[in-house]
């Protein structure tokens, strides 16, 4: 499980940073890649990574501002041209389907794969055996969502070699032991599954938030997350501007990270005004509030290890 940042800029593309897109690489876990937002030229950025568009099978949109969605029609078209044929689902605010369908209709684009849409509402957005995704509304001028991606726990592994060593014969009893039960064997011994199963491995949690003012809704989304991705359009002394433009400062993001007790904070959606030393300051100022903070750059890849 890795995050790769395809665009880390705010509002308008610049030479140093493209507009927003974030890839959650779940290749080991699901052989899939999920995208969060698709700013213009996301497909161009992907050309410089190992990501193959046909592996992208879910796209989550935080909000409908142009710098977060204008790359969608092109990416969807190229995924088709490049032989993608597996279904793709787009999750996002009401309106995203209109935008995409209008672009595909006008350009007479016929996709080689089934495309479907899910209109996001606060609560559970997606769930299967290995992952669930929750959403909640943030505080932007337009409806904006944060997503909490929760990996389900990996069950413990049955220690078959140890069972053989202890002369416990295979059979239905193995399933019971794996489920953690205590079992009486044919020879009269009483054995406990806990001695023959590795501990359950907790899943990882990633919180990816759309553009937002500081909001308490961020806390539940981010609670105990392994990684929190938060916007940081403004710097330390610009809380007033941040409020006025419905964005956050680095300090506000770090405060959320601290209160939610996350393990790592990644700051993105960086204004083009911040270059070189100023970016470093954005990071060090935030680190005064929450130590494990990093301002990410385009193409940064962040591994998310098990704890």
């Amino acid at each position: 499980m890795e995050l790769q940042f395809l665009g880390t800029g705010a509002g308008t593309p610049a030479k140093q940073r493209n507009v927003t897109s974030i890839a959650l690489k779940l290749l080991a876990e699901r052989n899939e890649i999920w995208l969060f937002d698709v700013g213009e030229a996301t497909q161009h950025q992907i050309l410089y990574t190992t990501i193959r568009p046909r592996k992208i099978d879910k796209i989550f949109i935080t909000h409908l501002h142009g710098d977060h969605i204008f790359g969608l029609p092109g990416l969807l078209s190229s995924r088709s041209n490049q032989g993608g044929n597996s279904a793709l689902t787009i999750y996002g605010p009401r309106g995203i389907e209109d935008f995409v369908r209008s672009a595909l209709r006008v350009s007479e684009t016929r996709l080689s794969y089934p495309l479907s849409f899910v209109t996001v509402k606060p609560g559970l957005v997606f769930e299967d055996d290995t992952f669930s995704v929750f959403a909640d509304e943030l505080d932007h001028r337009i409806q904006s969502f944060g997503y909490r991606i929760v990996e389900k726990p990996h069950p413990g592994i049955l220690l078959v070699d140890k069972l053989k060593e202890d002369n416990i014969p295979s059979g239905p009893v193995y399933a019971k032991l794996k489920a953690g039960e205590t079992v009486k064997l044919a020879d009269g011994r009483i054995v406990s599954g806990q001695d023959y199963v590795t501990p359950e491995q907790p899943g990882r949690i990633v919180a990816i938030l759309g553009d937002t003012r500081k909001t308490q809704h961020a806390l539940a989304l981010a609670e105990h997350a392994d990684v929190l991705v938060h916007e940081s359009t403004f710097g330390r002394d610009e809380a007033k501007l941040a409020k006025q433009y419905y964005h956050s400062t680095n300090i506000q993001a770090a405060t959320i990270a601290k209160q939610a007790q996350v393990k790592q904070l990644l700051l993105t959606h960086i204004s083009a005004r911040y270059l070189g030393k100023l970016v470093h300051e954005l990071q060090t100022d935030a680190q005064m509030v929450f130590r494990n903070t990093k301002v990410v750059s385009d193409f940064d890849e962040i591994n998310i290890p098990f704890q």
Copy 2:
């Protein structure tokens, strides 16, 4: 008057070539820039040129395929963010307004300048004191236009110094001489405007064609043009494929250039299959038919001199 190629690739963006956009720089002539097609990431390409988006006040769309229009919403938004406030007009096939308005509406983008649309039909598309633009339909799967941009002749300049030398007093007579008339002066002399006015300077002609099969309509659009910009999606031996996919070969483009007696042929819309030596071959093969042919690359700038 210069052409600058912002994207010279076919269909899908590649590292070597972006999808189509062409800038006609009329800075000396009108202090304006006109764009022809706006593929995705055209605004990103512009970051690497001297073009300022607020100077772009006309955009001509050849056809509605995604690789020719998906960069429009982003470019229009950024032009607004960067302080553009002069009116902008988009000329293109029916459907372009739907696409743009839908993208701006869904993203809640409010532009800082008036935006208007002209639905193109064959014939005169635009005319003012210095330029006219004609369109005609080509032969693509979707409606596709070629544009013929005609600069009006620059009138001759009145040689005031020579008039003074010859003791011809200023007054209404100067206007008559400038218009080429023959005039009787107060002192009885008869003088001809032709002796006091430089020759009229013919305007330049640029033909920019959208994606197309070989078509006779290209001939009238390109007739005696200073520059013909023609697609060349396929190579010498691929006429069958070209027909099947509604595109042209380099040889077909060169044949049009020769028949239309243009001065220079620029080949664009180059497939990603053509790299290095193959691009050179695309050019040299076409040159066998029409000598003054060049396969253009992204960012190439072509000056169009007076004859």
